[in-house]
């Protein structure tokens, strides 16, 4: 389940966002790869994932009235 193809085919106008998207995508892939066959994400991994999402949501909704 990856969306790498979409992420790599972004419009040029959001090229600045591509780097961030790619970094986030690769971070997720790296975390999952580090788990091994039967491993599951640790509390710290979940916390980091949620913190990253919270930061993005804060930016997305920053000027919401």
């Amino acid at each position: 389940m990856t969306f790498a193809l979409e992420i790599m085919n972004l419009l040029p106008l959001i090229m600045q966002g591509v780097a961030g998207a790619r970094e986030l995508f690769e971070w997720g892939q790296g975390q999952v790869a580090s788990l091994g066959e039967d491993g599951k994400p640790t509390d710290e991994m979940w916390a980091e994932l949620r913190a990253r999402r919270a930061a993005l949501q804060s930016a997305l909704h920053s000027d919401t009235e």
């Binding site: 979409e6 972004l10 600045q16 997305l60």
Partner: protein, 155 residues
Amino acid sequence: METRPLNHPEVAAKYYAQRQKAVAFLQYGFFAFLAVVCLFAFVGCASIQASKNSQIETKVFAASADYNAILSVAVAYESQPRCAVGQRPLGCSDVKVVAIIRKSDLTASAALKAAEDTARTPGVSESTAQLALTAAVNAVSALREILLVHGILKP
């Protein structure tokens, strides 16, 4: 005349006592064997279940990580200045699209959080964990589709 040993009361009593012990031993042994088999089966099933749920939790985690990646694209779009009336949406963001993205994010992130909490609940059934995974994937797809429809992501 030779007498049979069991005709002798003491021998017979000893024989029957030993036989009773043997039967009792076999019975207890059988039940103990059954108990051990059931225990192994239970532990085995619980272990398989835990392993499957771990895999599902990992998939929910991967979906959430993908969501973050897609969300960052939405943030990059939103961070551009709003388009003026009649301006083509190149280098600017459409106020209506931004509103749609924000609304979609609120819905999707709530669904993702619920899916994450469910998948991480200890002892949750496999079918429930699977439903959580479906919800997480749908949440990711929803935002992805919106970005695709508005040309922010290319198919």
